[in-house]
């Protein structure tokens, strides 16, 4: 059974290779092949899952060693897989949601002449993401880590004839590279500390080294997680990444890739457990991002960007939970899984809306779509209820636990973190209600597109609605299913460990407080957008609104400091290289040339003057010889 692990990665990789190298012959069948191979990967995952369930809780780790990858003296990197409960959870989420989104894309990308290539990239992404969660050492994880970055780059820039898409793709890759720097430094630190970077030995020996080292490794891992999971301060790329086709936003920039940072932190739990400072940094990052993303999400009129802000914020919750230590790891992952369902569902719903509205993304130009797109409305609505944490739906179970865990941190910290998480829940309710109301309720505010075609909203084809329905099903029931008898906790505990926390207030109080905040958020949003007509062009808004629309000026800061500064730096360096470094050499050459020009004048071509110098020279030689003799 263990030998099947490689197949998980190999199937989509084969798909990518065939689809990208196959040429136009495959245009007709390419999308079916891609979907089939993603499905194959999911099927293998299910088989392995069944096998794993049949074993004892302590005996569930499966490994597969393929070959030694980079053997150099003490540096041994293997191509080997490590499948435990944590990886298994991810495998099922990735291949499952991945397969659904492949299906959805068949309809969504129907009119795109480069559909075959799109499926090739999607398959490439699946392979890289599965490699990321299956790797048995950090270096192999790094391969998957950059692999998903590449796939994300290719897919964000899929419509690369649009300069904005190409720029967004480049930005995403570059910001991620900054995070990758963190990961590579972390791996180097592990190598010098432990002499290896395989999960088993590193995590097993984490308590044998000093706290300082662990803190350094932890902070570098956190930097990596910030890049990949769009956490402050490396969050700026996610909003722009919405330039990619919507299925990409759903799969990569909502359900799977952006959660890789959370996986990394939870996987490295042993390191963070020994480094309280790194944990503190992690919770701060999480708390700041969950508020940041939520505030940005409130102001965006572009439906995908609003959802992107929400993604950022929800991942902030997960990072916060992961930073809390063993008390939070399980709930971070649980929220990650439920978020995978409802956020993917929301994005697919957004894609369905755009599909029906001539690719319009501005929510102010939607309105009253519930009658025209009933399936989309219902599935999107269920996703909406799930994300705001409506009691009984998935988000409720997972988010509530995180808020409780934050309070349980204890002391002032606990109150601050818990308060932030609670506030975040309220803002979430506000902006999601806003999205919902602007899109599906209220007046029709439809505008003709640039070519003058008025939109005729219609329900999307079956291939698109079926995945939406399935995801909505997950958004509704996953949380409850996981929580019955603490099933999810029991499943993951052997890997991540778990400690009970003692919140300063009872769990019931926390839940009730959450409900109150939630209801307030919904009510405010309804009052602002549901009861009043919504202008088609956005009003100027308060200072905060304007700041939030511009991503709280973070991009402007980047632009002024990094982009402009960098441009000036490179330009001045080009100048220095040309005038100074090259100038010194050319100057030497010029002075030698000048000197020889002078010397050349002595060679005037008259035999007499040569004769004079000959005689002169001889005379001097003779005189010198005589003089030496005399002395």
């Amino acid at each position: 059974m263990e030998n099947l692990i490689a197949l998980l990665v190999a199937a989509p990789l084969l798909g990518a290779a065939v689809l990208l190298c196959g040429g136009r012959r495959l245009d007709k069948a390419g999308h079916w092949l891609g979907t089939l191979l993603a499905g194959a990967s999911f099927a293998v995952g299910l088989a392995l899952f069944a096998d794993m369930l049949g074993r004892d809780a302590d005996d569930r780790l499966m490994t597969q060693h393929l070959f030694s990858w980079i053997p150099v003296e003490g540096f041994q990197a293997d191509l080997a897989f490590h499948l435990d409960q944590l990886s298994m959870t991810f495998v099922l989420l990735i291949s499952g949601v991945g397969t659904l989104i492949h299906m959805y894309s068949i309809g969504y990308m129907e009119h795109d002449e480069r559909r075959r290539r799109f499926f090739g990239y999607l398959n490439l992404f699946l392979a890289a993401m599965l490699l990321l969660v299956l790797a048995d050492n950090y270096l192999l994880l790094y391969v998957g880590w950059e692999g998903v970055g590449l796939a994300s780059y290719l897919l964000i820039g899929f419509w690369q004839h649009k300069p904005s898409a190409a720029t967004a793709a480049k930005k995403a890759f570059l910001v991620n590279r900054v995070g990758d720097m963190g990961l590579s430094i972390a791996i180097m630190l592990m190598f010098t500390t432990f002499g290896t970077f395989a999960f088993g030995p590193v995590l097993g020996a984490a308590d044998e080294t000093s706290e300082g080292r662990l803190t350094a490794i932890g902070l570098m891992l956190l930097l990596a997680a910030c890049g990949k999971s769009a956490q402050v301060p490396l969050q700026s790329w996610l909003g722009d990444a919405m330039e990619g086709p919507t299925p990409v936003s759903a799969l990569i920039h909502a359900a799977t890739m952006v959660t890789a940072g959370v996986y990394l932190i939870v996987r490295s739990g042993a390191i963070f457990n020994g480094a309280p400072d790194a944990q503190l940094a992690t919770v701060v990052v999480g708390a700041v991002t969950l508020l940041f993303g939520a505030i940005v999400g409130c102001a965006k009129d572009d439906i995908k960007k609003a959802l992107a802000g929400s993604t950022m914020s929800q991942i902030g919750y997960m990072v916060l939970a992961a930073g809390l230590g063993p008390i939070g790891y399980v709930f971070a992952i649980m929220h990650l899984v439920t978020h995978g369902f409802f956020k993917a569902g929301l994005f697919l719903g957004a894609g369905s809306v755009m599909h029906g509205m001539n690719d319009e993304v501005d929510m102010r130009k939607y309105g009253a779509l519930r009658k025209h797109m009933p399936v989309t409305f219902v599935t999107f609505g269920l996703g909406y209820l799930a994300i705001i944490g409506f009691p009984g739906l998935s988000g409720f179970f997972s988010k509530d636990k995180i808020i409780e865990a934050a309070f349980a941190k204890g002391g002032t910290e606990g109150w601050i973190l818990g308060g932030a998480a609670l506030l975040g829940a309220g803002i979430t309710a506000f902006y999601m209600t806003r999205v919902m109301v602007l899109t599906f309720f209220g007046e029709k505010r439809w505008q003709p597109d640039a070519d003058g075609h008025a939109p005729h909203p219609h329900e999307s084809p079956r291939s698109m609605t079926v995945p939406m329905v399935l995801l909505a099903f997950g958004s509704v029931f996953a949380g409850g299913f996981f929580s019955i008898g603490d099933r999810f906790l029991g499943w993951l505990e052997p890997v991540t460990g778990y400690t009970h926390g003692h919140p300063p207030v009872s769990a019931l109080t926390v839940t009730l407080a959450t409900m109150v905040v939630l209801a307030t958020g919904v009510a405010i949003a309804w009052a602002m957008y549901g009861r009043r007509p919504v202008p088609v062009t956005a009003p100027r808004g308060s200072l905060l609104t304007r700041a939030a629309r511009r991503d709280l000026f973070q991009d402007d800061f980047n632009h002024v400091v990094l982009v402009r500064g960098g441009e000036h730096l490179t330009r001045s360096l080009v100048y220095v290289d040309h005038t100074l470094v090259d100038g010194v050499v050319n100057g030497t050459a010029a002075s030698v040339g000048g000197l020889s020009g002078r010397l050349r004048k002595l060679q005037n071509g008259y035999a007499r003057s040569y004769a004079v110098s000959m005689f002169g020279g001889t005379a001097i030689l003779i005189a010198a010889t005589l003089l030496m003799r005399a002395v």
């Binding site: 071509g605 008259y606 007499r608 004769a611 005689f615």
Partner: protein, 99 residues
């Protein structure tokens, strides 16, 4: 007679020849001055040969004479052809190879 006197004479002749080469521009005169220098050397060689009681110097003097004769033939031929083409025997006019 003291053989050293011959050396003084040789030095004097050589100096006259050398000055002629340096100062004069007419190719024929230049040529004669070169011959004068050569013969000064011959004189010195013969004088040394006498001083050291050794025939080597005299032998070399014969060689020099032969070489000088050959040189005269080649040199005069060049000067004549130069004069024919450029109607001048001045060495400064023969500056075709100068930059």
């Amino acid at each position: 007679m003291n053989p050293v006197n011959y050396l003084y004479l040789a030095a004097l002749l050589f100096t006259i020849g050398a000055s002629g080469v340096l100062i004069r521009r007419n190719a024929i005169v230049l040529f004669m001055c070169v011959e004068l220098m050569l013969n000064a050397c011959n004189l010195a060689l013969v004088a040394f040969s006498r001083m050291h009681g050794n025939l080597d110097g005299q032998i070399i003097a014969f060689f020099t004479m032969v070489v000088a004769a050959a040189e005269v033939v080649v040199g005069l031929a060049i000067i004549v052809s130069l004069f024919r083409t450029r109607h001048s025997a001045s060495v400064d006019d023969a500056s075709l190879m100068k930059l």
